[in-house]
Symmetry: C2
Subunit: 399 residues, 2 copies
């Protein structure tokens, strides 16, 4: 595809994204749900206006990195640390329960042990993108629930990585060495500790120098994005999701003097690229595969495991502050992390086409349902106050 | 290349661009020259930190579209029309003189008629990107010279398109029909007339509706970019350069009520993506080919034709307002339009590797020399006033 062809796709995506957001605003559903549905509509499964391309993947990845950078910048690392124990507990249970439930469901449905293991592992993932976007759209990032879920999602990424390493080895070689598991854990945790502890200081120091000595226009915003991209690359090197790196970079930048200016200049950039990520989820979904009865049946069973597992994980952590149902709902979306498991399972032959489609449907269903539920629960917690305008909501006034 | 790999390239480009801009600011050369040199440094010819990729092409194309959109938004169509006749005269002479000169130089150097024709045609192009960027950086877009050059560059694009059609047919079939030439001209001129006349009204009407009824965040900036991309696609359909469409879209948006807010929100987006285009020029330049004595000799002769041809074209239009030397210098850069001719010539076998490299060198030399000359001439015209800070300059105070 030529650059001009890709830009035509970008044109269609921008218009579809904003039409979807405007309609969603009027019929009172979250913008992100509108965007994913718009992606399904314009994608190859239905209208075929936009196809998949590697350049679109790059723009979508840039979008989700921008989103997590912005979300990180709105967080204070101390507030995140305050819910750290609760986050990790929710994350651990939120991996263990769906893993066990998915494994049991797989065996009950008559699949073999390896396949069932993969199904369980795919259900254990948590996608931070959707929840972060919804909390951000609702002005609720400062709530204790948002912090608990985002902390848990980061912890979940580490656990998911370990699980992926173990499951792939067990399925492939029949066993996994303790050394492999340990080195995977050490690398991931090492990345998080080093970037979180040193990243903040490095960011403060670096952006003080940039603020003081920069003379060319746009240096600040460009280097803030470069900072996030660098952390995303580091996370990728530690085999974590790049967006975890972008989130940690945001945490670091939130402590710099230039914080407000960076956030202000990143806002319109985010408005352009963040929706590309969410439309891309819809564009990549092959909805024509979902009409098969077997697929629907398996997907229904896995869906129940997926939702109940995460809700229970939040409810079971008695020490967690805030509303447990809200935290549980925030953990529901599987997003792109579940897709990674499904894709690997398909490529190594453990999952057949039916199971792959069923997992895709679960990922899509959990991703599409949670924004509305989150919004509904937030609204209930905020009492009779109507969500007339998302932007007009106070940041955390109801807690 | 995976999305993560491309984003690593984007990371390197962002850092290189801002380092280059900061250094350029301090050693008093235009930022755009620093960015192109930085592109050569990090590109495959030298350090090899960044390679060519289709995703980077998309980001670079997005950057130059953003640039021309922003430049168009700073222009008033009435001011542009006021210099219309002078612009067209400069454009026509600016095509004819280098075409004739390049043809003669080709024959004198011993090349055949077809090859000489291609050399001349490649020298006739004018790249609007460089000049627009330099005038914009110097806060001089409102000057009569800037308007004359930008108008001439748009006219030049139409002429270049016609010339390309003719030259490719003559070289391929030995002749060209009057109907082909006429339909090419009609399509291109038709696009410009329709988009300029109707585009302004459509833009005012459309963005009044958007401004009034939009409730979701970011709709305005996203649809402004979509508007520019739509015009770029239309221009591409009329076989004009997409950036001509983006420029016309900018002219249309400059008349809308939301003009200032759109311009403000596009600014940081431009800071991120516009430099990608200029670094990409450097990244794509294969400087290792230039050391050949034959290449250097031919390039020297063509360079003289290229520079003298454009300077003469401006000087000869006696009716043109403003400083003729400044207009002439503004017409010098060949940029990507010259590259298109060279690439087509290489692919249809009319140009050998040596001539292709020589043309590349001329494109790079004219592109690199004119920003400094433009700045120097503008400074001389502004009298003793020092260009201490580009941002601090008045918009058009010196005329």
């Amino acid at each position: 595809m030529s650059a001009t062809e890709v830009l035509r796709d970008v044109l269609i995506i921008l218009i579809a994204a904003k039409l979807a957001a405007e309609i969603a605003e009027r019929i009172k559903i979250p913008a992100v749900v509108g965007e994913i549905i718009a992606g399904v509509l314009i994608g190859p499964s239905l209208l075929g206006l936009v196809g998949a391309s590697s350049a679109l993947d790059v723009l979508a990845e840039l979008g989700v990195i921008l989103l997590l950078l912005q979300v990180g910048m709105e967080m204070d690392i101390k507030d995140l640390a305050a819910v750290g124990r609760a986050s990790v507990s929710v994350a651990v249970l939120g991996v263990v329960l769906p893993l066990a439930g998915g494994y049991a469901a797989g065996l009950a449905l008559g699949y073999d042990s390896n396949t069932s293991l993969f199904l369980g592992a795919a259900l254990s993932a948590t996608s931070v993108g959707i929840t972060a976007r919804v909390f951000s759209d609702l002005g609720a990032l400062a709530t204790v629930e948002a912090r608990t879920v985002l902390g848990a999602a980061v912890a979940d990424d580490v656990l998911g990585l370990v699980l992926l390493t173990i499951v792939v080895r067990v399925v492939g070689d029949g066993s996994v060495s303790v050394g492999t598991v340990l080195s995977t854990v050490l690398l991931a945790v090492g990345f998080l500790v080093v970037t979180t502890v040193l990243g903040g200081r490095l960011g403060v120091w670096l952006f003080r120098i940039i603020q003081r000595y920069s003379r060319a226009a746009g240096t600040l915003v460009a280097l803030a994005l470069a900072f996030a991209l660098a952390f995303a690359e580091l996370a990728d090197t530690a085999k974590l999701a790049p967006i975890v790196g972008a989130f940690v970079a945001g945490l670091a930048l939130s402590r710099t003097e230039s914080r407000e200016r960076i956030a202000r200049e990143l806002t319109p950039v985010g408005h352009l690229f963040v929706p590309v990520f969410f439309l891309q989820i819809g564009i990549a979904a092959q909805v024509d595969r979902f009409v098969d009865p077997t697929v629907l049946g398996v997907a229904g069973a896995l869906f129940v495991v997926a939702v109940v597992g995460k809700l229970l994980s939040a409810a079971a952590v008695l020490s967690a502050p805030g509303d447990k149902l809200l935290v549980g709902i925030g953990m529901i979306p599987r997003g792109e992390v579940g897709l990674i498991f499904a894709t690997i399972g398909l490529s190594n032959g453990v999952l057949g086409g039916d199971l792959y489609a069923a997992l895709l449907l679960v990922v899509l269903a959990t991703t599409l349902m949670s924004p509305s539920l989150l919004r509904f629960r937030l609204r209930a917690l905020r009492g009779a106050q109507r969500l007339e305008s998302e932007d007009a909501m106070p940041a955390s006034g109801w807690l």
